[in-house]
Symmetry: C2
Subunit: 344 residues, 2 copies
Amino acid sequence: MEQQVITNKKVILKDYVVGFPKESDMILKTSETITLKLPEGSNGLLVKNLYLSCDPYMRGRMTKTEGSYVESFTPGSPLTGYGVAKVLESGHANFKKGDLIWGFTGWEEYSIINAEGLFKIEHTDVPLSYYTGILGMPGMTAYIGFYDICAPKKGEYVFVSAASGAVGQLVGQFAKLSGCYVVGSAGTKEKVDLLKNKFGFDEAFNYKEEQDLDAALKRYFPEGIDIYFENVGGKMLDAVLLNMRLNGRISVCGMISQYNLEQGEGVRNLFTLITKRVRMQGFIVFDHYHKYPKYLEMIIPLIKNGAINYIEDIVEGLENAPAALIGLYSGKNVGKQVVVVARE
Amino acid sequence: MEQQVITNKKVILKDYVVGFPKESDMILKTSETITLKLPEGSNGLLVKNLYLSCDPYMRGRMTKTEGSYVESFTPGSPLTGYGVAKVLESGHANFKKGDLIWGFTGWEEYSIINAEGLFKIEHTDVPLSYYTGILGMPGMTAYIGFYDICAPKKGEYVFVSAASGAVGQLVGQFAKLSGCYVVGSAGTKEKVDLLKNKFGFDEAFNYKEEQDLDAALKRYFPEGIDIYFENVGGKMLDAVLLNMRLNGRISVCGMISQYNLEQGEGVRNLFTLITKRVRMQGFIVFDHYHKYPKYLEMIIPLIKNGAINYIEDIVEGLENAPAALIGLYSGKNVGKQVVVVARE
């Protein structure tokens, strides 16, 4: 086999981060020339990374934690995360050269990765980048978090925060497909417009323009909220609790407003869990990947027939990855944040 | 029918209460002489009250609220609450003179009450006062909140706060009957001793003696907590969240530490709902009374064969009811707080 000699560009985490992460917490490095080759006896894969996914949960991995649900990043090494890649060389029976995969890979041009937990991409008549979003982890998160955790019923009132994000935009559309009334919150006028005009939310509002979130929710949900898809935590959760209906459900998916705080904001209205008999359920998509084939069966036709829209915020080049990742925490991205490393 | 002329002693709420309630928020009044008689055409019951139940949720009724799950008290009128009473005259086909009932009645010697929602007492070979506790609302609360909401499995780690109270003492014993490891917290040495020596908790601690509740929980639950039966809220809940195990369950029954605060304490550690995939479920026993016959089937034999202990804190006389009720909020009661109005 002919072996290529290359340099490998990488995004390295300099050190663990306290507070709000900055671009300068990461550094772009190019390796010395190396031979592109899987080590002898490896059962992993040598891949060329195509698309990298910027996801809010990655903030937690910039902090040193033990026993968390995902490992911390290793300072001095490239970040890792979800991505779409092409197999250049396979040491694993389930994959072969030329396969396209999605799953955990490195923030670099070429990676040697563990084959366990990877998904082989079968449908290639949709944008490949979708496997970082609607056809990847965020898609499954919306699917499990809405259908399984919230058990929606036709006519119910659904509220989604961070509603134009990688997960939220799907939850809103799933809610409409389920016959629910759905309102989303986001942080700019542009996003609010998207929610109403592109994703079919019944209503949407800019939470930054609301002095009183409780009052805003009462305006959009005079009857109260049956289902809250929680992406932000903090003050929004506290306001939502005051507006839950009897037997309401809160799917706890993320709390992005809290990730850069050294101490979380206090949530004061949990007593309404009792008075309104509310179920609040945290979940992590990792536990549910066995349902991925079932999800694909549902979602692929919806994409192809245009019943579901998906908006991506695509930046070109690994050198722009640190800014893209950090942009998530100030809401700079419009839709799913993707970094293109290479297109094929 | 011979008609008795009596005076009726009552405990009246003077006005809505802000902050910590005081004895002087209530006043004892004796009515003018009246004839003990059900009004013509009433479908209610004229009852003689025997035992009154002091329950933490009553604090909420001292505040003016609308649309809550129970009505506020009416200033100038007697408090109402759970009690055991004897029917003197019945306007309802389901009850007759001489019947013993439990359910909502007035804080007074004689009441005319609505027959809806009352339970006729069939088992009288147990203490009648038990129908304010183990055989009444708190018993059903422990039963539903532990078995239905927490779905305990043998070998799981269970934590109960306010563990010597009307509900907590039962939850601990149900946990032991289910083969769980159970630890309780309470606010005095006497209560801690009761938990270990009378109710069979594996361990117990005085939360007032712990500087660091997180550290205390880590000491008692080195493996973490599978099930938390939440009676107190606030700081304890926050510490528990840091110690939940994967797929843990929190049954949200009450938050007594918060009832006298104008604004609830902030709970900062809700993110662990996600990382540990925790289900937090509020409930109210009212929704579950249809399971009362099934509960009785389980609990009556356990009482009779001594497999379950139940401790009551009984005060004599309606004049001592205000202090007894207020004592709940400083943890003065040891076990279920009952007021004897009359013994038969």
